[in-house]
Every structure is written in structure tokens, then in C-alpha cells.
């Protein structure tokens, strides 16, 4: 007889980052179905779904709603850092836990959050460490105007300086803005070696289109010479970008390889237009890890989590992973992929990278090597 456990599912089914939150939603619901169908799991999940519709102000009230009107103490949800920061105070008051399935900017380790996607030492640092030796160290930074873009670009500034490069420009667009002409003109004028893209949703899609247009006029701006690199771009948004994305790069814990059959994807139609992504994989992992924690540990309250994480490793779409009990961040693979044929070709793979959300173990020499001396003749 399975134990029925209500869990909150808090993903926006509409709004600026709908493609991402749909991917998360799909992963979470797939895992719920898998757990419920698994005769060896003692848990049956009952999803309590709420839809903030992409409105940051609704996350706190809907979290409160779930925690008050159901027995759920665990919520799988949130896409933007903005929404996560809205949810946290409510969790602290009510003793709930958020299972967060998206990459974020780091510098946080809350007892009420399990961080299942990458933090900067698992996305930005290896991404710049990979591309700078190949393309050059002078970057142009862009992002949507909120904490993800600000903080990620701030770290990028330091990394670029450490690599001996210069930041040639930094431009933010309001969430949802699709007029990217000024950004494009600034990039055209400064001719960087790469562009770090922290735009989200429609702004990002519009930017890729405009950049592809510019590359037709000026061959400096081809992905081979000056790629757009992202820390949060996955398969789930490629349909909105189309061929304009080809050749550009992204970092993440997972890129889908169609030639490999993955157990967690059994049952997902192969040609329904949406390829699996790290967002889907991460939300799936959240539910999976929660189920196995609940199976051995009553209600897995925030104060029990770190002890539960200390001993265990968990089977997830990322492989067998552990979760650091100190920071509650997952140890994850780090892959860098190049967009091709509606998916990503992996150009670099690191199997397990421990989380370092405060970059306290960052070492310039390890990432970029010792500075080379110039030959003077």
C-alpha cells in the first residue's frame, strides 16, 4: 500500500519564460507518473498544481495557498531567481521546501531550497574557461534586467579580467523586450570575440534572429568567429530560435543525445516537437530525489534534509548524483553543447562537478591557466 503524499507544482503555464516552465512542468509530471507507477516505491504523489502565469508577484501568494490549503510541504517550481526569492520567505515561515530545477546565479544556500540545476561553477566558469582560449577573451555581456543577468554578468566581468580580456559592453533589456536594435548596434560597433547571453524568453529569441541577420552582412559575427554563449539555453527553447541558433554554444548539466535510449524518457513520444532538456531532466530529478528521501525519512522536513543527503546518492537523468548537505546543491555533469539540427552536439563533457555556489574554490590559474608571457623579439 503506497503512502499518499501531496506535493506542490508551481510552474507558469504562460508568460515570458513559458517554454522553460513547460519543460520543467513536463519533467515533474513525468516523474510523478513514474513514481506512482513504480511498485517498489512506497510513495504515491498527489500533485497540487498552481499557475502563477509568469507574474512574479503571484509566486508568494500561491506558495502560501499550497502550504495552507493542502498537506504539501514540498514544492517543485519556480523558474526565475526573482520568483525563487519571492517564494523563500513563505517557505521559511511555514517550514516548506522548494525543489528548484533551473540554473541560477549562485551566492545562496538556503535550508529551504534544494538546488537541482547548475550554479556558476557548473555553468559560467566552465563555459568561459572553454570558449576564451578558442575565440578570445574580449566579451560583450547582455541580459534581461533582473538579478540573473546582473549577477551572472558581474561574475563574468571578473572571469574575463582574469583571462586577460576586456568587457566591451554590457546591455540589459527589460523582461519581454523584443527590440534588440540598440544591443545589436553596440555589438556591431565593438566587435567582441563572444557575446554572453543572459537574456531570457522572447528577448533572447529576438536577439538570436537579429544576430543571424547581422552575420549575413558581416562575417565577423558568425558563430565560428564570434559565438553567442549562454548558461541557460536548452533544447526546449530551440524551436523559438530556429536556424538562427545554429553553431552557438550553451552550457548545462545535460544535453539530449537522440542516439541514447534513456530510461526516464520511456513513454515520451519522440517526435512531439519538444526535445528533452536539462530543465525537464532537473525537474524530473527533483521529484525522484524527493520520493527516495521521503521513502526513508518520514516527511523530509528542512532540518532533516542535509542528513538525508549526507549518506546517499540518487539515480536521476543526470546519472547517479549526490547532493551536498552543506549547501543543498547537486553535484552535476557539466556539458557544453553547440546548437545543430534542433539539438546540441556536445563539445565538452565533465562528468561530476561539485557545487561551489559562493565560488569559494574558484582558482584563476585552474580555469584559464597561467598567463603566458609574450615573446619579445
Amino acid at each position: 500500500m503506497k503512502r499518499r503524499v501531496e506535493i506542490g507544482i508551481l510552474y507558469s503555464r504562460s508568460g515570458n519564460y513559458q517554454l522553460v516552465s513547460e519543460a520543467c512542468h513536463r519533467g515533474a509530471m513525468q516523474a510523478v507518473a513514474a513514481i506512482n507507477a513504480d511498485p517498489f516505491s512506497p510513495i504515491e504523489f498527489v500533485p497540487i498544481e498552481r499557475d502563477p502565469q509568469g507574474n512574479a508577484d503571484r509566486y508568494a501568494t500561491l506558495t502560501e495557498d499550497i502550504l495552507r490549503n493542502s498537506s504539501a510541504r514540498h514544492i517543485i517550481g519556480g523558474v526565475t531567481s526573482w520568483s525563487r526569492k519571492e517564494i523563500i520567505p513563505v517557505l521559511e515561515k511555514a517550514g516548506g521546501t522548494l525543489w528548484y530545477a533551473c540554473p541560477y546565479e549562485g551566492f545562496e544556500a538556503n535550508e529551504h531550497v534544494v538546488y537541482m540545476h547548475a550554479c556558476p561553477n557548473q555553468h559560467l566558469v566552465p563555459l568561459l574557461g572553454h570558449i576564451i582560449p578558442l575565440y578570445g577573451a574580449n566579451g560583450f555581456l547582455t541580459g534581461s534586467n533582473y538579478i540573473w543577468g546582473w549577477e551572472t554578468n558581474r561574475v563574468a566581468r571578473d572571469l574575463i579580467a582574469d583571462a586577460g580580456g576586456r568587457v566591451l559592453g554590457e546591455r540589459y533589456l527589460p523582461l519581454g523586450e523584443t527590440d534588440v536594435s540598440r544591443l545589436i548596434e553596440e555589438i556591431r560597433a565593438t566587435r567582441p570575440d563572444f557575446i554572453l547571453n543572459n537574456l531570457i524568453g522572447p528577448s533572447s529569441y529576438a536577439f538570436f534572429q537579429a544576430y543571424a541577420e547581422m552575420s549575413r552582412q558581416d562575417d565577423h559575427f558568425t558563430p565560428q568567429r564570434c559565438p553567442i554563449v549562454s548558461c541557460n539555453l536548452t533544447e526546449c527553447e530551440l524551436p523559438a530560435i530556429g536556424a538562427a541558433g545554429d553553431g552557438h554554444l550553451s552550457a548545462g548539466p545535460y544535453f539530449h543525445d537522440a542516439s541514447v535510449k534513456e530510461v526516464w524518457l520511456v513513454g515520451q513520444p519522440e517526435h512531439d516537437g519538444s526535445r528533452p532538456s536539462s530543465f525537464q531532466a532537473s525537474a524530473y530529478a527533483c521529484v525522484k530525489v524527493l520520493a527516495s528521501t521521503l521513502a526513508s525519512n518520514g516527511d523530509a522536513s528542512p532540518s532533516d534534509l542535509s542528513a538525508a543527503f549526507a549518506q546517499n546518492s540518487f539515480n536521476t537523468p543526470f546519472g547517479a548524483i549526490s547532493i551536498d548537505p552543506q549547501t543543498q546543491h547537486a553535484t552535476l555533469p557539466v556539458e557544453i553543447g553547440r546548437i545543430a539540427n534542433g539539438g546540441f552536439e556536445k563539445v565538452s563533457i565533465a562528468k561530476t562537478v561539485e557545487p561551489d555556489p559562493y565560488l569559494s574554490r574558484y582558482d584563476r590559474a585552474k580555469v584559464f591557466g597561467r598567463r603566458k608571457l609574450k615573446v619579445v623579439s
Binding site: I88, F107, E108, N110, R157, Q326
Partner: protein
Amino acid sequence: MKRAARIPILGGAKAFVLHRPHANLNAILRQLSAIGLSATDCWPELPSEALGADFVFFDVDLGFDEQFPWVPGEAPMPIIALIGSEAPGRIEWALSHNADAQLLKPVGNSGVYSALLIARQSFAARRQLADEIATLQARVAERQTIVRAVAALSSQGIDDERAYAQLRSLAMSWQVNLEDAARRVVAMTEQEGGIDHPYRA
């Protein structure tokens, strides 16, 4: 654009937390180790190893001067006050220790990281200011030496204004500041009964 620059690297830094065993203490220790510091708790006294710490957190509610191996207000590292009761006497005591940052109790899941960064910056600013003041004070204290040097030089038959100009050019050619040059001139005057001409600029 002016910015403080750099990823603040706190990994490996040492922190001492002077607080009795309590949930607040655990919350602070948890945050410190998540950030990457090595943290040691102690009560009721800071051990002498704490003199080598990079940060010290201290309890204001139950704290007293004798807990610290330094004179109140002269901690050799950034210190962070842990304030529970906001009674004026306790705040006054915390102020007497020149806390560089504060953290309000109860301590939850955040606050330690910003307290560390604020304390570090304000400690560095305070120390830089103190160094500058000490340098300036030392220079002010040499006023009399300058007067004596000018007097010694003008005793060679030049007026005060030219004697002062001469002292300045001596300082330049010796590559020392005016006060040091004055001290040398005074010393020479006392030892040899006059300034030695080969040193003249």
C-alpha cells in the same frame, strides 16, 4: 564605472563565533561553512587562536569586555555584532567594540554573507583611515623639527624663506619627506656644528 571588482573569495577564511550553544549559533555555523569558511564556535571566551582569525562574530546580548584578547574597540580583524535584544545599553556596548557589521537574531538562512562582505570592507576602510591619521599625526609632531632645521640653515646667513626653500630641495635630493630632511639637518647641526656643504643641493 567604479566598482569594487572581483569575486569576493572567502573560501578558506577562518571565522570564530563567540556565542553560547544555541539554534542561532548553528544557523551561523551552517551559513559560514556553506560559504566556504572554516568556523569555530566558542563561549564564554575567545581563545588566543582567535587572534589569527579573519572574522569574529560576537554575541551582544550576553557579551562583556573580558571575553576578548584585545582592548575594546581595537579588534585586529573585522568583527560582527550578533544583536538580539535592542536595549540601548547593549547597543552602546556593541558600539564600544567598533563592530564592523551586525546581524540581527534570530538568524535564519541568510545574512551572514552580506555581513562578512560589509564587515571586511568597513574594517579595511577604518584601518586605512587610521594609518593615514597616524602618518599625518607623525608629520604634525615634527613641526618643531622643521622650525629648528630652518633656523639652523638660516644661521648660515640666508633669510627664513630661502632657508625653507633650501630644506625642501635637500629633501628632494635625498628623496625623503620634509620632516625626515629636517631631522637630518638638525642632527648634523648638533653633531658637527653646521650643515655639511657637500650635501647641499
